[in-house]
Amino acid sequence: MPSSSLPLRRVWLPAAGSAALGAALLAFFGSGTQPAIGQSQDSRPAIAEAGTTIGVYSGRHYNTDKELYRQFTAKTGIKVNLLEAKDDALIERLKSEGKNSPADVLVLVDAARLDAATDQGVFQPSRSAALQRDVPANLRDSQGRWYGLTRRVRAVVVNPKLVNPTTIGTYADLAKPALKGKLCLRERKSPYNQSLVASQMILHGEATTRTWIRGMVANVSQPFFTSDTPLARAVARGECGVGVVNTYYVARMLSAEASAQDRQLAEQLKVIYVNPSHVNISGAGVTRHARNPQAAIKLIEFLASPTGGRGYAAANNEYPLKGFGDNPILKRFGTFKADGVSVEQIGSRSKAATLMMESNGWK
């Protein structure tokens, strides 16, 4: 086959070229900021000071968070390396990296995940007068392994044309037979729902909570939703009379970043803060094998402080740790009375809550 070298060259020359290009691109865009998994970046001093670098693993992925990290760097001179991924994957990655982990801070969303991370020993306890002051006791771990940063409220949204808003004052009202065929819920898989059920178990006991779940499931009219925004829209369009969502999704529909159509839809909704309301958090802790715990705690202090925390919460239309903030859209919803349940307790009950939801028909 004398001609065989021609097609060969045609395949392998471009292949070799593309390999070289690929390697070059990776070398250029991949280098600089990443240490090997588990490799120390440089010998960092034990005292937090300008010029040091900390690694942050975050389960929050709001692009706006990055602005806050930039502000922190500008203020303290401490550089932040960021890796955003799914909460559970981050926990496993920290565990597998062990003492070689380049992460100093782990940020997670939802009580149950903070609890899971604590159980698996990826945090270390840390003490800070600023955090004791800025983070209410029920929104932090009793041993200082994690601290709440922002609050999100699980609220009821109602379409006033279908359901009289005054008939709903508590979560228990959602199980009333009057709402048959009008209630829409998100799936059991949503950690926000798991934590809601866990908080009800703590407040009202298991038997009452079981009856409540069964009543709600009997009222559900549509297949369980897989996300909050479509659920809120379905209520606004009158396909459901009432639903349960995190308020920041409604706030986003009302904000300037939403479409005119979404703003119009959200205007149809009445947001009800039931009394008392279930509050979930996003929170952060210093990792067990942090190389720079002092700088790490500085970042957490900054994010929990009234100045930094306002930005962290405002970015996603969440509530700061104390008070109701100054977000004009959230102000439209009024104020809420938090149920005060300890997030630590919610986390420890969330697995039981999930099982109860499963065995009572919450898909």
Binding site: Y62, A85, Q194, E257, Q261
Partner: protein, 520 residues
């Protein structure tokens, strides 16, 4: 040119050249080891302090299993029909727009299923129709996976079968008869390989089925892990799913094994295409136009109705994201194709039954959910302090080995062993046979394999998401971050860039397939 067809049947008489195969065997063992190590680690992880009760499915688990099987079968069937039809039409028929439509068939593969699902759910919830359930999942996943069948079968149609078709023509057999009696049987291995790939993709698919609320096995696995905190049980389930898929693929291979057909391809004459006219032309155009139109049209329609709140990252960010995706995909495609080629050759040259089984399983990584494979790589990479990028490329190689290997295996089935025998009797070693005979004949499948891996890596999510280094976002990572946060508007521009990269790769590689079809 008109050499007669040699569609021959033969018993599996393998060539037995008495040559040194030590280095080949060592290389194959190394690749198999790298491919299988994560699964060994997972097995060890799952059985440590495990009880049989962990693997009990329960009522929900059975529903998930049933849904998964239904999805695999329905998507496989639709994919086989659509992929084969479009493969034949664009390779062997002539109609206006054929060349462009052929290139466009890669677009649906480049569209991440979860993006299409997110856009559809979003549009539906605004306009008041509910996008939910398996009725939506089947067409959506068929759309995003039929290209596997298309690419592998069209390569077979345009390359290896040309002279047989010419013979048909000279014997007065029409296009339909030629297709049914000659081209289809010759393409069956490729079609089977494509369907197997689509089946594996469906089994490990997570994002779209989650958004559409279809309870599948992959969701059950994640539920075990994230909902119930039972990571070992989750891994156990994933491994069982892997065994099931292996059995399915193995069965398909075995059934085909008895009807093996070889052909001396490559030198087919050009201008073999049948001219289509009238309604046939229209039908051909519709069939080949609709799928790419849908995969591009769904995001674009979102763009049109949401002009007022489209957000975009700054251009320099988008450029960096794109270049990272491009770099990873190029590196992974090359490494993976090289490894797959090595394994495919070894099946022919080292007829040790154990080695055959090893290479078979080495190509099954695609059937495991990416999150579980990522976990395995973390378990390996953490203690060894491996670089995240190295782990990531290893993961891509392991996951997408199947994507390039399936096509190569199918193509090898076309090359008659008598060729190897001739070459070895003339004194060629395996390396020389590879260089001078196999590689020239396998040029098409190698290109297609590289293209498939490239497109798959660009849209890959779970591995990239959990294994990447600090501050190393790619297009798919950014798309997912926005989409999972229910911000479709911000996800759209990077999603369209993913499509653009896929199309660019297709435009770069397809012409050389075309040349091959015309006997270049």
């Amino acid at each position: 040119m008109g050499v007669l067809a040699t569609a021959e049947r033969a018993s599996a008489a393998r060539p037995v050249p008495p040559l040194r195969r030590g280095p080949l065997a060592a290389a194959v063992l190394l690749v198999c080891g790298l491919a299988l190590l994560p699964f060994l680690v997972l097995t060890g992880f799952a059985v440590r302090d495990a009880g049989a009760s962990r693997l009990w499915l329960g009522a929900e688990g059975l529903e998930q299993l049933a849904n998964t099987l239904a999805l695999v079968l329905a998507v496989g069937l639709i994919g086989a029909l659509l992929g084969t039809a479009n493969g034949w039409l664009t390779a062997c028929c002539q109609f206006p727009g054929r060349r462009w439509l052929r290139l466009a068939q890669v677009l649906p593969l480049a569209a991440p299923a979860f993006v299409l699902a997110a856009v559809l759910v979003d549009l539906g919830s605004r306009w008041g129709f509910r996008v939910h359930g398996i009725g939506w999942a089947v067409p959506l996943l068929s759309l995003t996976t039929y290209s596997y069948v298309f690419l592998l079968s069209t390569e077979s149609f345009s390359g290896s079968g040309q002279r047989q078709l010419e013979a048909c023509r000279s014997l007065g057999v029409g296009p339909w008869g030629s297709f049914r009696r000659v081209a289809l049987p010759l393409a069956l291995p490729s079609i089977g390989a494509g369907v197997a790939l689509s089946g594996m993709e469906v089994v490990n698919e997570l994002g779209a089925v989650e958004l559409l609320g279809v309870p599948t096995l992959s969701r059950g696995i994640l539920q075990r892990w994230q909902g119930e905190g039972d990571l070992r049980g989750a891994v156990g389930l994933a491994l069982i799913a892997l065994v099931l898929v292996s059995l399915l693929v193995g069965a398909e291979r075995w059934m085909r094994h008895r009807s093996r057909r070889w052909t001396l391809g490559q030198e087919g004459a050009g201008a073999q295409q049948w001219e289509l006219g009238g309604w046939r032309r229209l039908l051909a155009q519709l069939l080949t136009l609709l799928p790419p139109l849908a995969s591009l049209g769904i995001p674009l329609s979102w763009l049109v109705v949401s002009r007022d709140h489209l957000q975009s990252d700054p251009p320099e960010d988008l450029l960096a994201l794109t270049l990272r995706s491009l770099g990873l995909a190029l590196a992974a495609a090359l490494l993976t194709v090289a490894a797959a080629l090595l394994l495919a050759i070894s099946r022919r040259w080292l007829s040790h039954p154990l080695l055959g089984r090893l290479t078979f399983f080495a190509g099954m990584g695609y059937a495991v959910p990416g999150t579980v494979l990522a976990l395995a790589l973390m378990l390996i990479g953490g203690p060894l302090q491996l670089s995240p990028l190295l782990l990531l490329v290893w993961g891509y190689g392991d996951r997408f080995m199947a994507v390039s290997k399936q096509g190569l295996d199918a193509a090898f089935e076309h090359i008659p062993p008598s060729l190897d025998e001739c070459a070895t009797s003339l004194g060629c070693g395996w390396l020389a046979v590879l260089r001078r005979i196999h590689l020239p004949l396998l040029r098409g499948p190698v290109l297609v394999g590289g293209l498939l891996v490239f497109v798959d890596v660009v849209k890959e999510l779970p591995l990239t998401f959990s294994l990447r280094p600090f501050d190393f976002d790619t297009l798919s990572v950014r798309v997912f971050q926005y989409a999972s946060d229910e911000r479709v508007g911000a996800a759209l521009v990077p999603a369209l860039l993913i499509l653009a990269l896929g199309l660019a790769a297709s435009v770069a590689l397809m012409p050389s397939l075309e040349r091959q079809g015309k006997g270049g």
